[in-house]
Amino acid sequence: MSSRPVHELIKELSQVLVQISDKVVGNLYNALHAVKHQDEQGARQIRIVDHEIDVAEVTLEERCLAFLALQQPVARDLRTIVTIIKINDDLERIGDLAVHIIDRMPEISQEMLEFFSFKDMGMHAGDMVEKSIKAFISKDRMLADEVCALDEEIDVMHRSVFKKVTALMKSPDSDVDQLIAALSISRYIERMADHASRIAHEVIYLVTGEILRHTGGFYEKLIGSINTDNSSEYHKGV
């Protein structure tokens, strides 16, 4: 089957998306490194790269919109372009979250970072983003499912940080500002994993044509987790 110029263009847009994802993941790892070593120079570089990501995101979106208007794609081509637009948006937000981590750098000590194992958590989120993009490139439904499952592990880590922070805050000599910064960093990484999970859902849509967001017993899980939390808190109180 011969490849038409229009399909070459779709490949090109996909490649641009992969380039953006490389920058985003690289920036995330650099942000974790910079925070750990309190590296001001590295932090500046991260902001510069984030600006480049922002510009690239807008350019890619403009190219995708022009493609929709001019080529009027359907079926797989339509799903691919829509998926690129949505993943592009998720990647840009992940990039912003890396900068948010840097913003918290002055407020948090190295000991606190190590105490909460933020490096492991961040690496885990970065791995999810990498895997979700790999799933997009290879249109791999199984890998996309795997990414969605990994999100749960990050949620568990985030809940653990939340519990530790609330416990520490009860102590009269606790450094509340630092604990809030720690909670924020945990929340930023958890949000990154959510975006990776969204990307994986977009890949599932690309492959199957089915929109799986807000399905799969999410609501039941949420209610279940609230009930579990409430009941454990209740028992603690008792």
């Binding site: 399909h7 359907v74 089915e210």
Partner: protein, 284 residues
């Protein structure tokens, strides 16, 4: 090659539900209760020994707009023309299987072709008004069916021209020759002429392929206006047109109905790889 997804009448209720998922609310209102108006069962059309349409089974739903797409020579126009027996004019043409209209066999022994064509009107690729006045063009059908009351004829002419969205453009020159109208106006006049005999089904065979974009847009708007009042079937090579105007789409290839699904589904997530390749231009 997969078979059609909304075609057999045995499971209409479940398949209607599946199809309706893809319909926006305004289109759900015009399903006419979801009754199949035209039903093909293993329906084949032959030109001599050549099987041009091969064992097609499909339900065409009442008050729906159904688009038929496919490459040249795939049998889509042949299938469309079979619905009001236009193929009878070709001596070597014969059929097998059944094609039902309101439950009655279109190719039945006692079917009255004239009555059938009154109920199933057709508009062709090239506008073909009669070399008569605008009024006489529209009044031709009702007169043929015995209408002679001038007042009633005037009412029919006005109603038909209004339905075809051309009344405002021609109301002050009904006695003028229809051939003096523009191509787009002539095509809408042909639609009005078809509507004058109060058909239930409108067959449109590439109705805009000879028209400019402005006239095409008017015909497409007209199809939207008529949706919900008539069962409309349109053959088109323009896939954007099929996706814009239709509720369901049939894809034919080499005489076979490859896929029949809601237009939204067929153009976003077709089930058959051949449909996918055709609509995305990957056909070798």
């Amino acid at each position: 090659m997969t078979t059609d997804v909304t075609t057999t009448s045995e499971s209409v209720s479940t398949k209607k539900a599946t199809r309706d998922i893809y319909l926006p609310p305004e289109r759900k209102k015009v399903t006419g209760g979801g009754n199949p108006h035209i039903v093909a069962k293993n329906f084949s059309i032959y030109y001599g020994d050549f099987e041009a349409v091969k064992k097609v089974s499909a339900d065409i739903f009442s008050k729906y707009v159904t688009a038929i797409i496919g490459p040249s020579g795939c049998g889509k126009s042949t299938f469309l023309r079979a619905i009001n027996r236009m193929n009878d004019l070709i001596p070597s043409c014969h059929t097998s299987g059944s094609l039902l209209f309101d439950g009655e066999d279109i190719y039945g022994k006692y079917t009255d072709e004239v009555l059938l064509r009154k109920k199933v009107g057709m508009v062709f690729q090239k506008p073909n008004p009669f070399p008569k006045s605008i009024f006489d063009n529209i009044a031709y059908g009702p007169r043929l069916h015995g209408m002679s009351d001038k007042k009633k004829l005037l009412e029919i002419v006005e109603r038909s021209l209004r339905k075809a969205a051309i009344w405002d453009e021609v109301c002050d020159r009904l006695d003028k020759n229809a051939l003096g109208l523009s191509g787009g106006q002539q095509q809408r006049l042909c639609v009005a002429r078809t509507l004058a005999v109060e058909p239930e089904v409108l067959l449109l065979d590439e109705p805009t392929s000879a028209l400019d974009p402005k006239a095409t847009a008017k015909i497409e708007d007209l199809i939207q206006e008529l949706r919900g009042s008539y069962t409309i079937m349109i053959v088109t090579h323009n896939m954007q047109q099929a996706s814009r105007v239709s509720d369901s789409t049939m894809f034919f290839y080499e005489g076979v109905l490859v896929e029949h699904a809601s237009t939204a589904q067929l153009f976003t997530n077709p089930k058959d790889p051949m449909t996918e390749d055709y609509i995305t231009g990957r056909f070798s």
